[in-house]
Symmetry: C2
Subunit: 334 residues, 2 copies
């Protein structure tokens, strides 16, 4: 049904080779160029990317695979990634892993079979097995935000452990000693940020009772539940460090349902400033990741790999730095 190159040939009398050349930016005689432009317009001709991809084995398309499309964190990342890629003339295929390793593996194969030129992944899996099809097909992969346990990969992220460690200074310098943490035990960033928390506490010579260490799911509900439990302890902490956006959300919600007030009764330090912090009273202190820069660096790195495929250089790990968003959620203790 749609017009093909042969329809253009019929209309212009030129050969398919010439037409193809023109379509790909080659030089043709001015008069032929005019004829071609007219024919293309008239026929509403559009290149069949399937056919083109089949022969060139390149599609000028990159795949992005995120662990959950519903997460605001990923939404933000996707927007910046899309902008950067479009600027370079690349199309973007977004896939959702639905927090499921099975779906993730399947989606990765899907992207490889669609012959994308490269893939950016914010993974749900911890091991690199699922990347095998990409490797076999020679499709470069760049990870974002999360590393994998078993191998080095091209990856753009923050130094999670250090970021958490540094952020903890805010609480410590304000005189807090009884500090609890709520983090995700299920993924790379949660674990690292928890380590940073523990580093800081240890260096300060402070104990961390088991009851102050809530490591569970990466979910609002978990933050909510954990905060409730912390506030029901006999010895309630004076401050809580929450290591991701969803958990921060849940914890804020929990406090609001009690008679405890932030920062008077409980100080709070959260992670990832994604709009929400701005509607919540009091304004949260937050560790903020450079979402835009992270996206741009990931695209940049991927482009290097796509172009310089010959250079089988070792994996690159790019660490970006975080900043602290100031708020009113931390009380200065005597």
């Amino acid at each position: 049904m749609p017009a093909t190159i042969r329809d253009i040939r019929r209309m212009t009398g030129l050969s398919v080779a010439t037409i193809s050349k023109y379509l790909n930016g080659g030089n043709v005689l001015p008069e032929n160029r005019t004829k071609l432009e007219a024919a293309i317009r008239e026929l509403h001709y559009e290149v069949n990317e399937l056919a083109r991809g089949l022969v060139t084995n390149r599609t000028r398309t990159v795949g992005v695979l995120v662990y959950s499309i519903e997460s605001l964190f990923n939404g933000t990342l996707l927007r910046y990634l899309g902008e950067a890629l479009r600027r370079l003339g690349y199309g973007v295929l977004i896939c959702d892993s639905c927090e499921d390793e099975e779906v993730e593996a399947q989606s990765l194969r899907f992207l490889v079979n669609k012959k994308v030129d490269g893939i950016i992944v914010v993974p749900v899996s911890h091991r690199s097995d699922f990347l095998q099809p990409a490797r076999e097909a020679g499709v470069p992969v760049v990870l974002m935000d999360r590393s994998l346990d078993d191998e080095e990969h091209d990856c753009v992220k923050i130094d999670n452990r250090m970021a958490a460690f540094r952020a903890m200074r805010l609480l410590l310098e304000n005189g807090h000693r009884k500090i609890a943490v709520i983090c995700s035990a299920c993924e790379y960033t949660g674990v690292e940020r928890c380590k940073g928390f523990l580093d800081a506490m240890e260096q300060a010579g402070l104990p961390v009772p088991d009851a102050y260490r809530r490591c569970g799911r990466h979910a609002m509900e978990y933050g909510y539940q954990s905060m409730k439990e912390l506030l029901r302890l006999e010895d309630v902490p004076t401050a809580v460090f929450m290591t991701n956006y969803e958990i921060t959300l849940g914890a804020v919600m929990a406090v609001k349902e009690t008679t405890y007030r932030c920062p008077d009764d409980i100080s709070m330090l959260g992670f990832d400033d994604l709009i929400l912090s701005q509607v919540v009273e009091p304004k949260m202190y937050m560790v903020v990741q450079p979402m835009k820069e992270m996206s741009e660096r990931a695209v940049e790195l991927l482009m290097q790999r796509i172009r310089g495929r010959e250079a089988e250089e070792p994996p690159v790990e790019i660490l970006l730095s975080t900043r602290i968003q100031e708020g009113n959620s931390i009380r200065r203790l005597a």
Copy 2:
């Protein structure tokens, strides 16, 4: 580099036709099946979807084009859409229009050129021009959430005007007479919901001063700014109706920065319950859309179009009903 059907032929001695048949679920002799499975495993063979699509002209892939990937509303929709489509064995290509008609038109062409079997669109444009390439290529399109001005299309949405009209009863029955609205003037849903608001006010015989009618951008900032202005009026309204998620967010934020308290000084009725309402104090009354059902109906409708392409039936418009999420944000006036 990757294995092809011919590698399998070399390995099994079977013909490409037989192999292709097997790959597409056809019957082959048990011993051949065994051989094939072994070869495929050993070669890590994966179908080249480009080649397959080129000949079949179908890709078992549908495209989803949303006006902004960053919006929580779309994130939620995308998750449900993805689940439904995957269940049917369809791959999903997600594209972001970045709130830009230019990008939207370009993305639509991208999807058409990738030969998706159908497209689901939550549009940013108001007119159907950008859908032309899909129409020419015979690719069915189903709209979600928003209609287009100039033409009927297959569309799954709520009855925005009626939903707003009904929701207003909540305010009216609680004795409110001075009611303001903050809505988006830029897109279909905002305009319709505003009409519903006006219908309700008119039927109740209540005036709506211009100052009570804030129709602007679909953005948190607009909700914030508008609410601030409303609260600075000489004659402050007793209640405000906010007609989308972002505006609701901004309005809540604005109130929190004043000495006004909800619901004591100002009653609030919002739209779209996306997690946030749960962290905000007091709990908001909200108009809630059936996101999951909407997604499933859209997929269902698209599938009908994809299968029964022969039946050039007239456009179908599916209207789903909303419900009210109860909260504590509305005060009963004497």
